[in-house]
């Protein structure tokens, strides 16, 4: 997970999909701190995506895999990440709480809400931004999505 490139930080974001419901997939987002960041622990956040339905536009989450991502700050929606996903467009990691907030994107929160929601999404985006831009305002970002059939998502329920 830890990776460095000459002259540019490589930020690696890992998403472990852990819980599948009818309405969504809940998971953990783990961002390892390439420079230590004053803490030995990775930053952990919660994610919410639509169920996977053959990668169909608007109705499906993206397939598992590794994607490069770019920062967007344009418009009124604030800081967010856009993923380069073959066959899909405008797939982003952004703020939001429930499945109806997304059409293929990935929502992030600091903890889970009920069965199908995440909470404190704006805070989570702020934390993700701090982490991504910690040492370099122009980091190279890679997001890798895994299916992990093992434990409850966001089980720690807190930020380290």
């Amino acid at each position: 997970m830890l990776a460095l490139q000459v002259g540019m930080a490589l930020v690696e974001i890992r998403i472990d999909r852990k819980e599948w419901t009818k309405e969504c997939i809940l998971g953990d987002m783990i961002i390892h701190r390439p420079f230590g960041g004053g803490s030995p622990f990775p930053l952990r956040l919660c994610t919410l995506e639509l169920p996977f339905m053959d990668n169909i536009n608007n109705v499906s989450s993206i397939p598992t895999g590794s994607y490069s991502a770019k920062v967007r700050t344009d418009g009124s929606k604030g800081w967010r990440l856009e993923l380069i996903v073959p066959g899909r467009s405008n797939i982003q990691i952004h703020s939001g709480n429930i499945p109806s907030d997304v059409r293929g994107c990935i929502l992030v929160g600091t903890r889970r809400g009920g069965k199908n929601s995440v909470r404190a999404s704006q805070l989570a985006i702020g934390l993700l931004r701090n982490e991504a831009e910690q040492k370099n305002p122009n980091p190279e970002i890679r997001v890798t999505v895994f299916d992990v059939h093992s434990a409850e998502a966001c089980s720690n329920g807190r930020i380290r």
Binding site: R72, I91, R103
Partner: protein, 180 residues
């Protein structure tokens, strides 16, 4: 007669009020998009140039030019829909600073098209309906479009107008029913 001619000339010399509304800070970004568009292949180039021209002028004839372009590239049965993001904008159209997208086509759409929709401008509404009927969207683009339709109650406020369009042109039948 001479006075009337002078009056007409004076009116013509005035700046177009819609064009004058394009902020100086946006003109540079419009030019940047135009420059990028020239390296794109069709139909994206044609659609993009027509669309941003209409955003800047607000004239019905320019909306018609975009609508004509959309229809000329409209897929026939069995072909995938056109892909052209206007409510978020593709990343390659962004103005980039320090590697991040700091300006996108979506904010120009929000600034110049959305107020026309809000005012019930029939040509802007026709453009929105035909765009949404013929172009596929995904991710943040769809989220922005849905937010706009909901925020302005467009499907219910302009239902009779949409129904009249649908009766006059079968292409409008491709407008996704879930938004009506």
């Amino acid at each position: 007669m001479y006075l009337r001619l002078l009056f007409i000339l004076a009116i013509l010399a005035l700046p177009n009020p819609v064009q004058a509304d394009v902020a100086a800070t946006d003109k540079g970004y419009f030019s940047e998009i135009e420059l990028k568009a020239k390296s794109f292949s069709e139909p994206r180039r044609d659609l993009l140039l027509n669309f941003i021209h209409y955003l800047q002028t607000g004239k019905a004839k320019d909306a018609d030019a975009y609508i004509r372009a959309l229809k000329s590239y409209a897929p026939t049965n069995g072909q995938p829909k056109l892909s052209f993001s206007i409510f978020e904008g593709d990343f390659d159209l962004c103005h980039i600073e320090n590697g991040a997208c700091t300006r996108g086509l979506g904010e120009l759409t929000e600034k110049y098209l959305v107020p026309r929709l809000k005012d019930g401008d029939k040509k802007a509404l026709e453009l929105l309906f035909i765009h949404t009927s013929l172009v596929t969207s995904d991710g943040a683009e769809t989220e922005n479009l849905e937010s706009l339709l909901k925020r302005m109650k467009i499907p219910s406020r302009f239902k009779s107008f949409f129904d009249s369009l649908r009766r006059s042109d079968p292409l409008f039948a491709r407008f996704p029913n879930r938004w009506m």
